[in-house]
């Protein structure tokens, strides 16, 4: 049981502290090496068929603004598409060098009506409902240009995002580039730039609410919840940056990433994490996947734990699925970022089991020695604290429902 105890602690500490620290040191040393050595050329498998094919010279795109095809998969996104397309059209990018493709994945709302307003500007692809992966395949099949940019209907790009995203392709060894997704909880400054309209809506809503105290409380609680998610995202991004500096990130930000079309492999129909599978295939093909924080997209943090939990379940289910779709990732002689993959992606899948094992071992060992008892106490305190976090979430929901009721009452008064 002592072995289980220490092994569990070792796994948890390594995944969440040791590995990020290792990356930090590794990335620092990598940065100190001469530029020619810091590139991953030596780690690219020379036997890789992709490097023997004629696509390598073709991929050496050196112009700062190359032709790009932007692919958006949309299912019932009528309410968001106008803003999304306008945002892309407003990009600081030569209009003739970009193609916007929106794939309607069996939409049953007004998506096609909205898209019809952009005839001649947006290429519309309509496919029967088959899921995002198939929609992306259809979008890429329509693409005319060598660089494909993937975006979602919900998020917005910074004005220079497209330009910054494709700039990295000047290095022929780079096969995919991930941008940075900024959540509105990260800083008040970013939040202001990210979603002004949303803030205005909230301001209008506040004026409508008859119970200002409820609104104030709701806003405070929401801010705290979003901060928690934002903190996790900041931690994740630090890891991604280090992985990128060393060689490649283990996935991309689905809201903003780009890939050389020649490296795109059609996704299986049920793919959950296209933004991990596609970049990892790029890595397996011998190319780098880099992260650039200069290419930015904006989103709002999921404001309730349910939405965030669903997202995390989906993400982690996708990580299991990728092991089945690309088992080569588990082979150190095929996957040159094997250590990073095992430490980061697989480690996150192992930690919950280590947490349970640690708790069970602590209970058993606590009767033997005060040290184990204190570790058990620390865990209990931690889980009580997490329970308090759940309580905060519950209170936020109650405040939300009261707020909605207050708005409804106010609206009814207006009508009557």
């Amino acid at each position: 049981m002592t072995l289980v105890f220490w092994l569990s602690i070792a796994v948890i500490v390594y995944v969440y502290v040791g590995y990020p620290a290792l990356l930090h040191v590794w990335a620092t040393f990598r940065a100190l090496r001469p530029a020619e050595e810091s590139t991953p050329e030596s780690s690219i498998n020379p036997q890789s068929p992709i490097h023997q094919s004629p696509i390598t010279p073709q991929s050496a795109i050196r112009t700062p603004q190359c032709d790009v095809s932007i692919v958006i998969a949309a299912h019932n996104e009528a309410s968001r598409l106008t803003a999304r397309i306008d945002n892309l059209l407003a990009q600081d990018y030569v209009a003739g060098r970009r193609q916007i493709i929106v794939v309607s994945d069996g939409s049953t709302d007004d998506t096609l009506d909205v898209l019809s307003r952009y005839a001649g500007v947006v290429d519309v692809v309509t496919v029967p409902r088959g899921g995002k992966a198939l929609a992306l395949n259809a979008g890429v099949a329509r693409a005319r240009f060598d660089i494909i940019v993937f975006a979602d209907a919900r998020q917005m790009f910074a004005p220079d995002a497209l330009k910054e995203l494709v700039a990295s392709f000047s290095d022929p060894r780079i096969g995919a580039v991930s941008g940075e997704l900024l959540l509105d909880a990260e800083s008040p400054c970013r939040r202001a730039g990210a979603d002004r309209r949303s803030i205005e809506r909230r301001r209008a809503a506040r004026e409508l609410a008859s119970d200002r105290r409820i609104e104030e409380r709701r806003r405070t609680i929401r801010s705290t919840i979003a901060d928690g998610v934002g903190l996790y995202w900041t931690y994740e991004k630090h890891i991604r940056k280090s992985e990128s500096a060393i060689d490649s990130t283990l996935g991309a930000t689905g809201a903003i990433y780009a890939i050389r079309r020649s490296l795109y492999q059609p996704l299986p129909a049920d793919t959950i994490l296209d933004d991990v599978l596609t970049p990892m295939r790029v890595v397996l093909a011998g190319y780098r996947v880099v992260f650039t924080e200069r290419a930015r997209a904006y989103d709002r943090a999921a404001i309730d734990a349910d939405a965030e939990a669903r997202r995390k379940v989906r993400t982690l289910a996708g990580n299991y699925q990728i092991l089945a779709l690309e088992p080569r990732l588990l082979l150190p002689w095929r996957n040159r970022v094997w250590l990073q993959y095992v430490s980061h992606k697989l480690g996150r899948l192992v930690v919950p089991h280590a947490l349970l094992a640690l708790f069970a071992a602590s209970i058993v060992l606590s009767v033997e020695h005060a040290f184990y008892f204190s570790v058990l106490g620390a865990q209990v305190i931690f889980y009580v604290l997490a329970g308090c976090g759940a309580l905060i979430e519950y209170r936020a929901r109650i405040a939300d429902s009261r707020y909605a009721a207050a708005r409804l009452t106010e609206a009814l008064r207006e009508v009557v």
Partner: protein, 37 residues
């Protein structure tokens, strides 16, 4: 509850939730559930 304690509680909750998601994700993947994102 003070702001800092509330934030700490939220971080703890997020951590527990993420680990719960890893287990739930295993079951979701095993069921082969299709998820639009």
């Amino acid at each position: 509850m003070s702001q800092s304690l509330a934030r700490l509680a939220k971080v703890a909750y997020t951590f527990v939730m993420m680990n719960y998601a890893a287990v739930a994700g295993l079951f979701a993947a095993a069921r082969g559930r299709r998820v639009w994102r």
